[in-house]
């Protein structure tokens, strides 16, 4: 555990020692803020219209602002993840520091989990940028707290999967650009999967739909914690980290 935290701390430090952490936080803050702006503007316009015309369904800040907004956040994450994970192993391999890690008395698992935790914490920092926006909603409106927290949990779990996949891809190359590019492609495919099949039914469609990482976020966005979604995410994280360790092992044997 000590070694895991040590490596996690080292990763986090190096993210913040370079501009990457600040850049990603700024990007996310800006884009999320833009989403927030348009969502509230539409909400306000709509609610004025409703008032003028009278009647209509009751409006909900949770349903009409926070839910789409955090869904939007989940989409932005697809673009952030490759930039977070691409350096994890590729950089260590290129600069030779991987030799230090692999010849020190720590296990592969400790290295992998430590790096993954570091990436998670950076993602958490990035996600915190959105709290400013959401806090504004709490200041001027009365949304429910619980569903917002659930949605954040969903975002973290989803990012956990993508980061683990990205980490795996980063072990396969010493070129950061390739690691980032491939990760981005894979993230995109996992996102697109449910487009192909959203109107289909049948076994294949069900399976493909099940594999789409974004599908599992929908329930969280609604504020519902479904056991199957949590299990999906946790097992995906475990699986991806497991392949990462296999990949490191095979690198040793082949290199």
């Amino acid at each position: 555990m000590k070694s895991i935290l040590l490596i996690c701390q080292k990763e986090l430090k190096s993210y913040f020692a370079s501009p990457i952490a600040y850049l990603l936080m700024a990007f996310f803050g800006l884009i999320f803020g833009f989403g927030m702006f348009t969502a509230t503007r539409d909400f306000v316009r709509f609610s004025f219209q409703m008032q003028m015309q009278g009647g209509g369904a009751p409006m909900s800040v949770n349903e009409q602002i926070i839910r789409p907004l955090l869904g939007f956040g989940s989409t932005i994450s697809l673009f952030l993840v490759p930039m977070i994970t691409m350096r994890l192993f590729a950089e260590e391999k290129r600069s030779g520091t991987i030799e230090l890690l692999l010849t020190s008395p720590v296990t592969d698992t400790q290295i992998i989990v430590g790096k993954w935790l570091g990436a998670m914490l950076l993602y958490l920092c990035i996600l915190l940028m959105s709290v400013v926006n959401v806090a504004l909603l709490f200041a001027w409106g009365k949304p429910d707290v619980a569903p917002v927290l659930v949605a954040y949990l969903g975002l973290l779990l989803q990012a956990g999967c993508l980061l683990a996949i990205g980490e795996f891809i980063s072990t396969t190359t010493r070129n950061q650009i390739i690691a980032g590019g491939v990760t981005f492609f894979v993230c995109l495919m996992l996102w697109l999967l449910n487009w192909f099949t959203s109107f289909d039914s049948g076994t294949l469609a069900t399976i493909v739909n099940y594999l789409s990482i974004v599908t599992h976020f929908d329930n969280f966005a609604k504020g519902v914690i479904e056991t199957k979604d949590v299990i999906f995410y946790l097992s995906m994280i475990f699986f991806a980290l497991f392949i990462t360790s296999r990949s490191m092992e095979s690198l040793r044997w082949r290199s």
């Binding site: 000590k2 070694s3 040590l6 490596i7 080292k10 430090k13 190096s14 020692a17 370079s18 600069s95 030779g96 520091t97 991987i98 030799e99 230090l100 890690l101 692999l102 010849t103 020190s104 008395p105 720590v106 296990t107 040793r252 044997w253 082949r254 290199s255």
Partner: protein, 324 residues
């Protein structure tokens, strides 16, 4: 301390290390010598548990690299060819990190870090970013990193490459000062380095073991025979080249005479001596007594470099390696 038996490492298509066996005793400094691509780094990587061997066994302090890598890693300090440094860290921060990584108790770390910074002469850059350091400092920070946990075995892959002459001397002194407490294997392709800092030499070439011996023995044996260039003045076919050659061959201690040149009024020969024989004085006397004009008499020596090239170019494993 280190025992390697029948070690073979194959990559996809090539055999990097082919059936190497050797032993290193506690407290020794051993030089690992070979041309680039001979398999030095691969052997070191196997010993540090970075790569698993394809065949054979390697043990460090009695622990097998495959079965007990954790125990081996605890006892080894490793400086790879490019020092494994994180450019975004300060020197002190980096050494702290490595100290913790190597499992030093956190209470002892500040003291250990100060100690290695002093020994490796990097204390004056303690708060500098590693990315701002010169090559020499980087190398020394790399060395500090390798000894921070006071390992039984130190494995240094070309520790002086890329340093300027003054830094090379300092680094060699540092390495020598580490001997005794530590068993050290250092690889290099520079022969003088081995002569100056090592007690024993292991020479490998294209993955095969060529020689293992003490430095003194090896240099003696290899330097035993010398080559002398002899040049005479020649005018209109006199003296007769074949006659000169014959006379020179008769000098005691000469093993071989080769004519190099007979143009432009000069006759040039290269004379090789038998093992351990000094022949220059006798050669000079012979020439003068025969009434020839001696232009030049110069020892061209069989340098360690020549011998090394000979050893590594051809398979002389049997002649030199068999004695070990």
């Amino acid at each position: 301390m280190i025992k390697v038996e029948g070690l073979t490492k194959r990559y996809a298509r090539t055999v990097a290390v082919d059936n190497i066996s050797f032993e290193v005793e506690k407290g020794q400094i051993v030089g690992f010598l070979g041309p680039n691509g001979a398999g030095k780094t691969t052997t070191m990587r196997v010993l540090t548990c970075f790569l698993p061997p394809s065949e054979g066994k390697a043990t460090v302090a009695g622990f097998d690299v495959l079965e007990n890598p954790m125990e081996v890693k605890k006892r080894i300090g490793y400086l790879p060819e490019t020092p494994p440094l994180y450019p975004e860290m300060e020197v002190v921060e980096y050494l702290n990190f490595v100290g913790k990584l190597k499992g030093i108790a956190s209470g002892e770390i500040p003291q250990r870090v100060d100690d290695v910074m002093r020994r490796c002469a990097v204390a004056d850059v303690r708060n500098k970013l590693i990315s701002k350091l010169s090559k020499g400092y980087r190398q020394r920070v790399g060395l500090a990193q390798a000894i921070i946990h006071n390992p039984d075995v130190l494995i240094l892959d070309e520790p002086t490459s890329g340093l300027d002459p003054k830094q090379i001397i300092e680094t060699r002194e540092l390495i020598r000062s580490l001997a005794g407490d530590h068993t050290i294997i250092l690889s290099t392709h520079i022969l003088t380095e081995v002569e100056q800092s090592c007690e024993r030499v292991i020479i490998i070439s294209s993955g095969k073991l060529v020689a293992i011996d003490s430095v003194a023995n090896l240099t003696n044996r290899l330097r035993g025979s010398e080559a002398v260039a002899v040049e005479l003045e020649a005018t209109e076919g006199r003296p007769n080249p074949s006659e000169v050659q014959q006379r020179l061959e008769q000098v005691s201690g000469v093993s071989r005479v080769v004519m190099k040149d007979s143009r432009n009024g000069r006759l040039a020969f290269e004379v090789e001596s038998l093992q351990g024989r000094q022949i220059r004085a006798d050669l000079a006397r012979t020439v003068v007594n025969s009434g020839w004009n001696l232009n030049e008499l110069r020892s061209v020596g069989l340098s360690l470099e020549d011998i090394f090239l000979q050893l590594t170019a051809s398979e002389q494993k049997d002649t030199v390696g068999a004695k070990e």
